[in-house]
Symmetry: C2
Subunit: 347 residues, 2 copies
């Protein structure tokens, strides 16, 4: 019947537990939250909630603790994302304002998230599946080596050195480099990675016998750089916060740290967001497929310039976390970073 009240009770349990980190009993509940009923009634509701699997008693005579499913219901139906104070907003923008390049943006973002939420922050580097080549620069180095600089539209830069097997320091060499430079940029500049890769391969065949070897060397290095660049990266901060919340993970902190070093699985996790790119995604405890992270929750959100959601960021903390404010922080930071990328992508 009073399903409403049951949910109120659940919410109260979650809230209390989150900030005392102790199992909460019926008596304490009615005292702190002025629900208009007695402890005995609450006990009945609790029994039902337990049947539904939303809460759980660690011991016969202890209070109740929310289960992962309980938290799920809480975030889905019982809480609203708490808006940040204007002070917090200002802090965010000030902190990110001074970033000079993409690395710096990511670096600042991850630190900011960690200190804001006092949890472990995870930021994925902008994924470049949709990246385009902005420009490719060739710089002769020494007699026969050539440094290739690949500039991506997101502002990232990748470089490689190849040996062309040709003398580049004389007039002929300079002409060769300059011809390679224009021809390569003609087919690749402004073009998405995947397309650029195939175009470049074709370019080799269209090259004179004489210069084909050089062109081939350059193109193959570029091909490497293109996939390397597509390979995604994450940056972490705030691992120390795990230790602070040590009470929550009796002895699981080791596995958690291990899981955090597996950047590949982290990336996969971040990749699986909810449907709506503009919504914060929450993965709670055992919902999480990664061994080692099953006592933690991941709050994440996509970000990126324009309508493209190029990457994700988020924080990882104990399942017993303050979801509303954490979600608010993550959302705010994701939006702000997106804005910054928008501005820089400008033109």
């Amino acid at each position: 019947m009073s399903e409403d009240r049951r949910l109120m009770v659940l919410r109260a349990i979650v809230q209390d537990y989150v900030h005392t980190s102790e199992p909460v009993g019926s008596k304490a509940l009615v005292e702190r939250h002025h629900l208009g009923v007695s402890a005995a009634t609450v006990r009945n509701d609790m029994a039902l909630l337990e049947e539904e699997g939303l809460i759980h008693a660690p011991h016969t005579s202890a209070g109740r603790v929310p289960t992962d499913a309980g938290y799920r219901v809480f975030v889905d139906r019982l809480s609203a994302v708490k808006p940040l104070s204007s002070g917090e907003r200002r802090a965010i923008s000030q902190f990110l304002e001074g970033a000079v390049d993409l690395d710096d943006v990511v670096d600042r973002t991850v630190r900011l998230l960690a200190s804001l939420t006092r949890q472990v922050a995870v930021v994925q580097y902008p994924s470049l599946t949709r990246s385009t080549v902005r420009h490719i620069e060739l710089v002769p180095m020494g007699s026969s080596h050539l440094m290739i600089v690949l500039i991506v539209n997101t502002g990232r830069v990748e470089q490689r050195v190849v040996d062309t097997g040709r003398v580049l320091s004389d007039a002929d060499g300079e002409a060769l480099v300059s011809s390679l430079r224009t021809r390569i940029n003609d087919v690749a500049a402004g073009v998405p990675f995947t397309v650029a890769a195939t175009q470049l391969r074709r370019l080799v065949d269209e090259t004179d016998e004489a210069d084909r070897a050089a062109m081939k060397a350059v193109v193959s290095a570029l091909g490497d750089a293109l996939v390397e660049e597509r390979e995604e990266r994450v940056v972490l901060a705030g691992q120390a916060n795990l230790a602070r919340a040590g009470a929550d993970f009796p002895r699981t902190i080791g596995p958690i740290l291990e899981a955090l070093e597996e950047h590949v699985t982290l990336l996969r996790l971040l990749g699986q967001l909810g449907d709506d790119p503009d919504l914060v995604s929450v993965r709670i405890g055992s919902e999480n497929p990664v061994t080692g992270l099953q006592s933690t929750s991941l709050v994440s959100m996509g970000y990126g310039s324009g309508s493209e959601r190029v990457a994700s960021l988020g924080v990882l903390g104990p399942t017993r976390m303050d979801y509303p404010t954490t979600m608010a922080s993550v959302r705010a930071v994701a939006r702000y970073v997106s804005e910054i990328l928008d501005d820089n992508a400008g033109t």
Copy 2:
């Protein structure tokens, strides 16, 4: 008198403690190490060692544990760096072989060190105080923006975007860019950072009124990049190993993680090496100036191409660590990385 034997006893204590992690008593000692004397004699020696401050009894009736000073004596006088097995050497070279660029070298190195020593690995990015500018490239972006790419002789690349306030897409613009490019490279290419910075500033004054604003914008961004690039960075791996060795740090793991996030202080630490660049430096427990790291030891060594020791790498672990093998690993990796940098530096 028998100072020799006292030291043998100390060595035995260190060795036993390192691998049982329990205070070691006189009886256990004579059993495991066949010193030719009885437990009582060992007890007398222990009493002396304790007076000298080299060992310490946690409780009146517990065994002895080496103090920081005890470890110091051990590494300085009682141990030899254990040579690595050929298998380990091969593993190191294979693991580092496939690196494609500097970032990759550093990344692989830090992971390798962590898994080799099962401790926290710290690798400083090659310091660039002695770096020179290899080349500076200017790439027009959009109508008035210019991307500046700074290529350093170590292979690092830094980029900046500035607004020149001029139209660059027409013929005039292209001419401007190309003139800036040659003039800048004329004064800066091949020149050490510090010199380049001043040369470039002078260049502004020598520029025509008309182009001075554009030149100024570019030079100021370059100046930023030069200091930014000189700012040093570290990379970590293997934090999870801290948790594994949790027995050693009862509750100090939190502060340690915090200290590890303070990259600035880490850099300072790594900077203070011993005198001989070719020697492994060991800083034990309280010898360590950083709060939070006083229950840990740092084993580090410089590395770099040629005779220049451009940066350091090392591992951080409990004071109770296996110094001989750890030192061996650190030394081997540092040397190998130096070799790689040598090869790559070759024109």
